[in-house]
Symmetry: D2
Subunit: 295 residues, 4 copies
């Protein structure tokens, strides 16, 4: 396929390289043109503007840092939107806001162009090794059309329906999960370290108990299915244990705001009469507060 590629940063460069290696015809653009050198050597054309990269392409893929950069390179003067032909498709792989994704959906639709969201999970090394996981959403026909390109980029692909912004919400949720885990780990390491336990040892336990076992997966499933009864471990016991965590933190002088948040969740659950549900029923409390009904 004829592919325009916009944005050659840590992620974009290896992605473009892989598309080129797979035999696609690439025209690339980057704000700092020097970065395009290695790709030019392997046969890519280098454009002076995003519009030029998009002109004549079947598909233009953008991989940029933030909303601002995408707005400029796509909707700005000499942006990809201006160059892209009718019927061609823009694949946006950047981590952007839901609002901008919706704006792009409209802008491309009103120009008779296709628009597909396809953010990726994975760091630069994963991009290089074609080990990204791609999540995508958009009109079915457009998704099918760009699928061969997306399959070149990673180890797998999930299609999330026809609304382009869906993939953006899921990508953001994924980054949120990672950040949450880091907050949790940070508090746990601080607590154990102040209690005299070597980080290396705690890491070892973490690896043995959590990282290689499907423990989180099981809880994710319980929450996805809203199956909080019969309990494996109750909210009341969860409240007890988180209370003990906070007591230990108090003793070791370690503030643990996430533990405090969890305590308030369990305490609220118990206060509202849900103490005998499974402790994963935090899922029900959060959903209720969001105005969601049990399905």
């Amino acid at each position: 396929m004829k592919v325009g590629f916009i944005g050659l940063g840590n992620m974009g460069l290896p992605m473009a390289k892989n598309l080129l290696a797979a035999g696609h015809e690439l025209t690339v653009w980057n704000r700092t043109q020097a970065k395009a050198g290695p790709l030019r050597e392997k046969g890519a054309r280098v454009a002076n503007t995003p519009a030029e990269a998009a002109r004549g392409a079947d598909v233009v893929i953008s991989m940029l840092a933030d909303d601002h950069a995408v707005q400029d390179a796509v909707l700005g003067k000499d942006g990809a939107h201006a160059g892209l032909g009718k019927g061609a498709v823009h694949v946006s792989s950047s981590t952007i806001s839901v609002a901008l994704s919706e704006k792009l959906t409209e802008a491309h639709a009103s120009a008779g162009q296709g628009y597909v969201s396809a953010p990726v999970f994975g760091r630069p090394e994963a991009a290089d090794a074609k080990q990204l996981w791609v999540i995508t959403s958009g009109p079915r026909a457009d998704v099918e059309r760009v699928r061969p390109l997306l399959e070149v980029l990673g180890r797998g692909l999930t299609v999330l329906g026809e609304k382009p912004s869906a993939a953006n919400v899921v990508k953001l949720s994924g980054n949120f999960l990672i950040a949450s885990m880091m907050e949790a780990l940070s508090e746990a390491f601080a607590l154990t370290r102040k209690s005299g336990i070597e980080p290396k040892l705690f890491l070892e336990v973490f690896q043995s108990v959590f990282a290689r076992a499907p423990i989180f997966e099981r809880y994710a499933q319980l929450i996805a299915e809203e199956k909080y009864s019969p309990p494996g471990f109750t909210m009341k016991l969860g409240l007890k244990d988180v209370g003990l965590v906070l007591d230990a933190g108090r003793g070791a002088e370690v503030p643990m705001p996430l533990a405090s948040l969890l305590r308030d969740q369990y305490l609220g659950g118990v206060a509202q009469g849900h103490g005998d549900l499974d402790w994963s029923a935090i899922g029900a409390l959060v959903a209720e507060r969001a105005g969601l009904k049990k399905r």
Copy 2:
């Protein structure tokens, strides 16, 4: 070995069963004696008090619901402490407070008895299938003495040094990590669901991206080693992404208190001049607030 076993609940019963099957001589005690029936049939003796279960034993193992139950069954009238002989060892597998663990350490020491903490990770099914992960701490000689028993119970064992309460802190930290993950997952499911994404689909992405990949393990390692530079993904970008998560939550009307907490962490990190560290440097912020110095 001659083993006393105190507490035959969901966890204790399968653990005792496995010790019996491994050829150890068991005397068991449970508040509700009826629960001991299946073990009696397989050759266990049934005691009328914890003290009786401990009398003459090389090792007494307790697996009870909470601090209160342990306090009663071990230090109370006719408790295990009263029955246990000089030189014998109490292995406490319950999830109890650091304070109670320290109290037990003293009580047993002053009676010339050994005390080892050995809480376990895993649900009843795992206990039944000998798939628990055991973490233990206590005086080296005592730990070595009870090791053959602990190895019968699970798929692996981590020794956490000579201070018995260390294993309790680590067990509590593990439960804290699970609860954190559930809060995070709950918020993520609420956000994606209110944004029109089927929970089943989000679960699929979670399984593909997180559950089978060692992603959390890598972050745990960065935090354990305090290696926040060079960054793979910066705090500034973390702040941006968590901001977008909150914006999406605002749009879908989903309160996300954990996301709010993360935003404040990243914002504080940036405000204090750490914006270009890796986003896992939450670890540094939490540690600093706990009065820990960089190692």
Copy 3:
């Protein structure tokens, strides 16, 4: 003075009425023109567009619901900006974002017009009774020019310097303080009520101890002056008391997230070695996390 007045909602209508009563010549505009009836009867002219209300005026005052409404009525088609003459001044009394205030500052400056922020504290009854407190900021000359109008509206006026957005930040901070107090009161009422104390009785204590005494004022002063030593009541004692609050909440089954937040603040303060400062040194912790240095 010749005054244009834009926005006749719950707040705008009584403000406009008071300006009219004070002898100023008013031209008013409201999206729903019917609302202007009572003012027309008292001699105000009614304009068809914000631009028309601004045309020929010395000063145009806007009092609208949110950023969106201000953006439309001032910078939109037929907005006040288009009608306002060179040298005339726009006084913005709405509670708007810092970003929009900065945008208005530029827009008016580039058209040779003045711009002054003048948000108000007080509910509709206070507006009616000329009991608002006005906070204002902007170029000194412009502020002086509109001062006679602002003095008609309320019981007092604070000038906050020459940067218009300063008054917006202060107005937002004021609303934040009110909301904080409501969260705190809500948690306190829930705790005392679940502990069997009549809300009426707790209200009585609140009125006796807090509402009529300058207690908050004193703490505000300590934080404003960063005078945390010698302590009147230490962080360590604060940690103790907030811990007791949480214990009481635990007993009565009342989740208190603000109390949890406070506990983590005090615990962090103690962990970092500030346990003997006055408990108002939360001010120092918050400032430090924001990257502020002690003055």
Copy 4:
């Protein structure tokens, strides 16, 4: 009356001094006996143990630092409990836990002694100037008996029913309100200061708008009466304003965890369909989460 007084710290000393000045016969005890000097000079007897201070007294008042100190001085060896006669009353003015207050209630009752809680609001200067506000609870007859003493100590008194621990909950709630206000003020000062506003100026606004006006009192009343409709200012607007606060904090790089908490409250309120209630309906959200029903 014959009064025993236990604890001559910053608060106890001026309280004892005032009782002496009012003509009561005092026997005082303090861990560090030297502190009793000034009182001895004015005619007080100095006891060697709390028991001795209590012996023969009509009333013994204790004013100590924390649960631990009270436990020791009252229930410990040579504690006041041992010395106090049948029918005499212990007045506990320390800020202690609900649990200890309940334990003291039982201990005194079973010895035929009376027990009244009477914690106080006010700092040492207020104690000295007889400007404390006393809150008290306990059996009516006992409260009436000690009332003349309590009236000597402060500017007023609220009686909170017959259950002694009620006054402890209210005292803790009061300290919680003060700490909340300090967190709120700290965040507001950090935000305004980083936005270029002199703390002195913001303090001035605070004093003008909040400290001398009964604004908090009105909100306390709305929450006490659960009167959230008709709204003076809606939850939706509250959500908007707190959102703007957080945006301003984002811009100025000021983490504001309390503002984040408030945002999540308002967002939850709106998500659950309460967006048009008064913004003080945070009271309803907190109460509901605590399992309380609307009255």
